[in-house]
């Protein structure tokens, strides 16, 4: 193509009207940047959520529809049966047997104070033997352990950061107004979990020994939820239906709800991808505007060069060759716009993703970074399409009339 005289003519025409050409190409730059950075932003969000959710994709969550949400200091009466019962837990354990690990969990929302500053968050009561099976300690806060004593707690990543905590600090659970505010020792700080599908969002929560939990809140053997971590994620639906068959014997009023990460992932990613498509469509509008300005510039180029077109046609240039020359010109405008746009969107997209998501860990993954070449390609195609009609018009001129044009 660089050896093609029609390509050279197109390049020279763009160079001759460089300012005008660049102004038209700016539209394409904006369009490419808009489409690719919006696309990358959405994709990075999706990838992050997906990554976080799939960390718990092997977990089945069994919960009772009766949600226990007590007020501060509220102690649930042990006589009212709520949550997953001992009998149900036994059934679950027998169904799962060797296919996974069953972890019963108590949870409530509650207040706590650290150095006289009040906070609020989820409080999870888990058997110390089970904690290490799915939660991890961040050792940078001190030498922590998941093997909780009766008066020890694990705190979530956000709480540790906000209250500037380290292992060995003290925390009081319960509100200021409460008569008993037992003090516990922080035995470890948990690693950030982000959005999870297993219901245990510990980032703004506290994990206590299940014995301490039932001593404090009662409700022994009435778990808020039971998590089953299956050994092989491919078996997850088989495990789910086995549990369902065993416990939810009455189909009309099922005793427990059984969910897993797949359904949550599907909902979250489809929402995000709808939003992404929508904002990309808005970016696409700027490309439409760009197409109009490219069209305009191409029409100007044709009408300024009518006599030249007449010369070309009269000395034996084929119509297709004239068309090619003008389509090349539009193509060059597209390349200019898409080139600058592609480079800018890599930079701008990176900053936007960093600012809005807080991590660029997913930025260079193909699903994300491929938006740059894709948007560039769309930009070039839009330009070429805008150049088709002007090129057609140029090639269909009457050489005699065109030559006469001054």
């Amino acid at each position: 193509m660089p050896g093609d005289i029609f390509f050279s003519l197109a390049v020279r025409s763009v160079r001759l009207n460089f300012l005008r050409s660049m102004l038209a190409a700016i539209g394409i730059v904006i369009g490419v940047v808009a489409i690719s950075s919006m696309g990358m932003l959405g994709t990075n969000m999706q990838l992050e959520v997906k990554d976080q959710l799939s960390a718990t994709a092997n977990t089945v969550v069994i919960s009772s529809d009766t949600v226990r949400m007590g007020p501060p200091g509220f102690t649930p009466s042990s006589s009212s049966a709520s949550g997953v019962t001992k009998t149900e837990l036994t059934k679950i354990t027998s169904v799962v047997s060797g296919n996974g690990t069953v972890i019963p969990i108590y949870e409530t929302s509650g207040e706590f104070t650290i150095n006289s500053i009040a906070g609020r968050g989820m409080i999870f009561g888990i058997d110390p033997g089970d904690i290490g099976k799915f939660l991890k300690i961040n050792q940078t806060y001190g030498n922590g352990t998941t093997d909780l004593g009766l008066n020890e707690v694990l705190v979530g990543a956000d709480i540790a950061q906000n209250f500037d905590l380290k292992v060995g600090d003290r925390i009081r659970i319960g509100s200021f107004s409460s008569s008993s505010r037992p003090e516990l020792r922080i035995a470890g700080v948990l690693q950030p979990r982000g959005t999870v599908a297993d219901g245990i969002s510990t980032d703004n929560g506290i994990v206590v020994n299940s014995k301490w939990y039932t001593n404090q809140y009662g409700g022994s053997n009435e778990w808020s939820q039971v998590n089953v971590i299956v050994n092989n994620v491919d078996n997850i639906s088989a495990v789910e239906s086995a549990i369902n068959a065993k416990i939810n014997t009455n189909a009309k009023t099922p005793a427990v709800r059984i969910t897993d990460a797949t359904s949550q992932l599907a909902t979250e990613t489809s929402t995000l991808s709808t939003v992404t498509t929508f904002i990309m469509a808005i970016g696409g509008i700027s490309l439409l505007v760009a197409a109009v300005s490219i069209f305009n510039v191409m029409m100007m180029s044709v009408s300024e060069r009518i006599q030249e077109i007449g010369i070309l046609l009269s000395i034996g240039t084929e119509k297709g060759e004239v068309r090619r020359m003008f389509v090349y010109e539009a193509f060059i405008l597209g390349l200019l716009g898409a080139g600058i746009g592609g480079a800018s969107s890599a930079v701008i997209g990176y900053s936007v993703v960093d600012a809005m998501i807080g991590t660029t860990a997913y930025f260079f993954q193909p699903a994300s970074i491929l938006y740059v070449p894709a948007a560039m390609l769309i930009g070039v195609v839009v330009c070429v399409i805008s150049g088709v009609y002007p090129a057609w018009r140029a090639s269909n001129m009457d050489p005699i009339d065109a030559l006469r044009n001054e």
């Binding site: 050896g3 005289i5 050279s8 003519l9 020279r12 025409s13 001759l16 006599q307 030249e308 007449g310 010369i311 070309l312 046609l313 009269s314 000395i315 034996g316 240039t317 084929e318 119509k319 060759e321 050489p399 005699i400 030559l403």
Partner: protein, 226 residues
């Protein structure tokens, strides 16, 4: 006269449909031009010179009658065939030179070769032709706007010759030049005629027409005296 003329017009009429009514620019014109002829076509403005030129140059087709170039009926040819014939069989020299402004002098001459062979020329043919008409290599890198009128017309002649056409069609070739340069250009055209080209010259300058072997005078779309 050779047996078959290279250009043959038989009862060619060209009518333009204008808002003020039909206007007949050429009226039943018949004309034979033999190979290696040197014909001057003269006439006042509005006599149909340009229309005649367009017919001879296959830029247009007649309303009635027929034009044969090299034995082929122009009206029966496809648009692409006419384009190829303009490229290969006819060299055009215009009053306003009509060089391609974005191409250098060399590229202007190379251009018809690219049209014909669909690739850049490597035979230096364009340089040889430019040198033959008095444009040296240093000038050939210049764009047309950087050349004088006489130089531009020399480049245009080199361009007209590059595909070795048998017919050279000149429309007022000296009209935009001073008389000295004009005579130099006419010397080049006479040289081409001596080399065997068929030269057709449209002009209203008697001095220029005097170079031709014969003169055809057009009046009101008809050949005078025919």
């Amino acid at each position: 006269m050779t047996a078959s003329p290279i250009i043959q017009l038989s009862e060619v009429t060209k009518t333009y449909h204008l808002e003020s009514g039909d206007y007949t620019a050429l009226d039943q014109v018949s004309l034979d031009i033999a190979e290696n002829d040197f014909v001057a076509i003269m006439g006042p403005s509005g006599s149909g010179k340009s229309t005649m030129m367009n017919q001879l140059g296959i830029l247009d087709v007649p309303t009635s009658g027929s034009v044969y170039i090299d034995g082929k009926n122009v009206a029966a040819m496809s648009q692409l065939e006419r384009t190829h014939m303009r490229r290969d069989a006819i060299g055009y020299i215009f009053q306003k030179f009509y060089l391609i402004p974005l191409l250098s002098a060399y590229e202007n001459v190379e251009y018809p070769l690219i049209l014909k062979f669909k690739k850049r020329d490597t035979t230096e043919k364009a340089f040889r032709l430019l040198e033959a008409v008095g444009i040296d290599r240093s000038l050939s890198a210049h764009r047309p706007t950087q050349l004088s009128g006489g130089q531009q017309q020399r480049v245009a002649i080199a361009r007209a010759l590059v595909n070795e056409p048998r017919i050279i069609l000149c429309d007022e070739p000296t009209g935009n030049l001073d008389s000295r340069t004009g005579f130099q250009i006419m010397d080049i055209l006479c040289g081409l005629h001596r080399e065997g080209k068929t030269v057709i010259l449209v002009t209203h300058d008697e001095q220029i027409a005097a170079y031709a072997k014969r003169t055809i005078r057009l009046v009101d779309g008809r050949i005078e005296g025919s």
